[in-house]
């Protein structure tokens, strides 16, 4: 089995020492990660926007019987070191790779050729994959591939990576180039002599333009509908209603679908079949007592160990990723960023940040890793802070749905209103407190694509597998802690100690203590112990808000510490907790005056 891993920059130097490396390179959003999956058979998440591969991924590949390591290098427009991605690309290029597969975008040929010419400067065997040929045809773009191949001095293979078209030919061409190639025909002969100076760069741009003009012919667009739809999505008059409809349909699918799955399939399955089955077996082996209760009691491992992960959380997570992955592959999210750029810029953010924030509604961990694409440290910190403070992950949302809708759906209104107000408040405070600047938005709008069923299905599988392996382990640990705490009486002691805060200031029942302790491990656990209790409307509102603003889970701490530092992790942990208790208390005490 190939070893696949996403390595952090500090580990980079360990991995450049590997022999037999082949680099997979190209501009951002040309489909490198799809090539990576097709060539190696390994998992790499791909999306229809720039910067999905923010670190790099590697896996072994076979080239005519010989083993190589294929490295998915982050997408770059040029090799001038301006960002982390370009630095990583340069380090790999200088680490004596055996070959390069460079992916060219047929719909964005000039940008692609500019990078191609820069890469040719390195004396490394290289082949080019001309990807998105199907989309180019739809756009009325015709490319003379054999002429392009002659002008670039190496093989250019037409590909449609999502359909696995041209992948074998590409591998063959690379093999031929590596073993029988005449060596790199460096771009010096093509009009560029070194690309470090501005003059050299302008000359390279000119050469790329000339090549593009020679090989590309633009005819009438075959598919005008996609362009029309794309325009409607970013024009405010139509774009805002479209965004609202997409949001309403997405929420409807996730919430409605999640509730239906839970009520009609998963809950009966767990409560009527799975739990009684284990209860029966365990009761016949172990007599009543602490061990019996830890296993099948109120907080029993075999009771909530099935109910919480499978019946409470799984349906929402599954449906969220169905919707999110679809919008991601369609290329809708950057368009949403364009639409909201002016509003976001009022809060010190930029339109593109919306992608990471929406990702945070799934899970904060990929959202925080995704902030690596931010162009300034301030933007990274600001988006991370907002995600930690105000964006509930989908597991937590699932638990909140259950708690709130069991009392009254109208309670969603104050919860959403208060959390929106807090979002704006935190963004504004963060903008003032965090030093530096947020770069204004400059983005390439991705092509609008109908998601390819195979890559979409694969992505969904990767995400669900990841959720299962990450979340279920942590959830199980939390459940074991809960049942041990409960059965040994430790929970009661803690509840007594914390009662002035929990029962006094927040007006919540004793079980909320369980939630606050378990919430350290997993976010939804801060709510789960309250689901099914007979709470007042004010208690539901207070508990929802406390959970929403309460500290992020243990995985988020880990990622904060590794992406930033331990100090940031502790600071976010302490401020979120204090903030949650203050806001919850204010809502409870003000609410008491009216209720």
């Amino acid at each position: 089995m190939n070893k696949d891993f996403d390595v952090k920059e500090k580990d980079l130097h360990k991995h450049i020492a590997i022999d037999n490396k082949i680099l997979l390179m190209g501009n951002p959003n040309v489909g490198k990660s799809v090539f990576f999956s097709q060539i190696t058979g390994m998992d790499a998440i791909s999306s229809n926007f720039s910067g999905t591969t923010v670190s790099y991924t590697q896996a072994s590949m076979d080239l005519s019987g010989k083993k190589y390591t294929l490295i998915d290098v982050p997408g770059v427009f040029s090799l001038t070191v301006e960002s982390q991605a370009e630095e990583v690309a340069n380090i790999f290029l200088n680490s004596k790779p055996d070959g390069i597969i460079c992916v060219l975008d047929a719909t964005n040929l000039q940008r692609s050729i500019e990078l191609a010419l820069e890469l040719k400067e390195y004396d490394i065997p290289i082949v080019f994959a001309l990807n998105f040929m199907d989309v180019a045809k739809e756009k009325g773009i015709e490319i003379n591939t054999s002429l392009l191949s002659t002008l670039l001095g190496t093989s250019v293979i037409e590909t449609v990576a999502v359909k696995n078209k041209g992948i074998e030919e590409l591998k063959q061409a690379l093999y031929m180039e590596m073993y029988f190639g005449k060596g790199s025909d460096s771009c010096g002969s093509l009009g560029c002599s070194g690309c470090d100076t501005l003059e050299a760069k302008l000359k390279l741009y000119q050469t790329a333009k000339e090549i593009t003009e020679k090989v590309r012919k633009t005819t009438t667009k075959l598919d005008k509908n996609k362009e029309k739809i794309s325009n409607l999505m970013v024009t405010p008059k139509t774009g805002i209603p479209i965004a609202l409809v997409i949001m309403a349909v997405s929420i409807g699918l996730i919430v409605g679908g999640g509730k239906a799955l839970r009520a009609f399939i998963l809950l009966p399955l767990v409560n009527d079949l799975v739990v009684p089955f284990f209860r029966g077996i365990i009761s016949s082996i172990i007599s009543e007592g602490i061990i019996h209760n830890i296993l099948v009691g109120e907080y029993g491992i075999f009771v909530i160990g099935f109910e919480w992960p499978f019946a409470l959380i799984l349906p929402y997570v599954f449906l969220f990723y169905i919707v999110f992955s679809f919008l991601e592959d369609l290329g809708y999210l950057p368009r949403l960023g364009i639409l909201f750029d002016n509003i976001m810029s009022k809060f010190g953010l930029q339109g593109g940040s919306i992608i990471n924030i929406i990702m945070g509604f799934g899970c904060a961990v990929p959202a925080i890793i995704g902030t690596r694409t931010c162009t300034s440290k301030k933007e990274r910190l600001l988006v991370t802070t907002l995600v930690c403070f105000t964006v509930p992950c989908i597991s937590q949302t699932g638990a909140l749905m259950e708690l709130i809708s069991s009392k009254s759906v109208f309670l969603f209104i104050p919860v959403i209103a208060i959390s929106l107000a807090v979002f704006v408040f935190i963004a504004m405070i963060g903008d003032k407190l965090i030093k530096g600047r947020v770069d204004p938005m400059i983005i390439q709008v991705p092509n609008l694509l109908v998601p390819n069923l195979r890559t979409y299905g694969k992505k969904l599988t990767i995400r669900m597998k990841h959720f299962m392996s990450e979340a279920f382990g942590a959830m199980l640990i939390a459940i074991v802690i809960a049942s041990v705490f409960k059965e040994t009486g430790m929970l009661d002691l803690l509840a007594k100690a914390l009662s002035p805060v929990i029962q006094g200031w927040l007006g919540l029942p004793r079980q909320a203590v369980d939630g606050l302790i378990l919430g350290i491990v997993r976010r939804e656990m801060s709510i789960a112990p309250l689901v099914g209790l007979d709470l007042t409307a004010l208690q539901v509102l207070t508990a929802s808000l406390v959970s929403l603003f309460y500290l992020p889970c243990i995985s988020v701490f880990g990622i904060l510490a590794s992406e930033f530092n331990a100090r940031t992790a502790v600071l976010i942990g302490v401020t979120t907790t204090v903030f949650a208790i203050i806001v919850g208390g204010i809502v409870n005490n003000v609410g008491m005056l009216f209720m």
């Binding site: 756009k139 364009i338 750029d341 400059i442």
Partner: protein, 73 residues
């Protein structure tokens, strides 16, 4: 004139661009011809088409890109 104030649906030749490597990488360069698709209201971004790809540029940057009418129109 700045591109954010230029009429949409026309081709423009770029006269000057602020020093920004991202603009340069995406093909917003002096003397090149771009097609202006739109500028969103309330200070929203400007959408340009360059080399058959669409680019969105925040208003504060777009206001610093000077253009003139192109012969293509």
């Amino acid at each position: 004139m700045p591109i954010n104030k230029a009429k949409k649906g026309n081709y423009y030749k770029i006269v000057s661009v602020p020093n920004n490597s991202m603009l340069m990488s995406l093909g917003v360069r002096e003397n090149d011809v771009v097609y202006k698709k739109d500028s969103l209201f309330f200070g929203g971004p400007t959408l340009l088409e360059i080399d058959s790809r669409e680019i969105a540029i925040a208003d504060c940057i777009a206001s610093k890109i000077q253009v003139e009418e192109s012969d293509i129109n």
